[in-house]
Amino acid sequence: MKLGRITGKVWATAKDPKLNSLTLYVMQPVDEHDKLLGTELIAVDTVGSREGDLVYWVGGAEATFPFHDRQIPSDATIVGLVDRLDTQPDGTA
């Protein structure tokens, strides 16, 4: 899994029906110092996050299993809302 910062939202009426009623966010992968880590992704939200939130997300095949009863066509799924992050100040890790 990786950290991500939610930077925007995406609406798409015409999409795979399995994605209906799911929120799609623009998410910027970040490191433990909130520095950019690669390009933005469109991630499916499953924990009720909002724009600006620091979240963690899962990619690959595991991204399709957030719900017990069905799989969704996603390769980036937000699975946790970060309340608190503890790390060394930048440059001393």
């Binding site: 433990e32 499953t46 899962v58 399709t64 060394q88």
Partner: protein, 94 residues
């Protein structure tokens, strides 16, 4: 698996249930010599690792499923599976 160093931890109350009662750490890949690389990973700890430890991290869903004893596939892939005591290896890169 890859070699990583524990660089921090996170607390998340609102999360997918497969992460319930799990300790979640932040790790960064390292070279065998211990130099940090970029690409911070969020990993579930199963061996009691602490800040600064060099650890083994497995990042695959079925491995996580096996280690954490899930009966169905879960949206969880990175798990800390060991704490490294010592590395004996020729300098990487020749």
């Amino acid at each position: 698996m890859i070699l990583c160093k524990v660089v921090g931890s996170i607390v998340a109350t609102i999360k997918h249930d497969s992460y319930d009662n799990q300790k979640i750490l932040l790790v960064r890949p390292v070279t065998p010599e211990g130099d940090l690389k970029s690409g911070t990973i969020v990993a579930v700890d199963t061996v009691g690792a602490g800040e600064g430890n060099i650890v083994l991290v497995a990042s695959e869903g079925r491995a996580a499923m096996e280690i954490l004893g899930f009966s169905a596939r879960q949206p969880l892939r990175s798990v800390i599976v060991g704490i490294v005591d010592c590395i004996d290896c020729e300098r990487s890169g020749g």
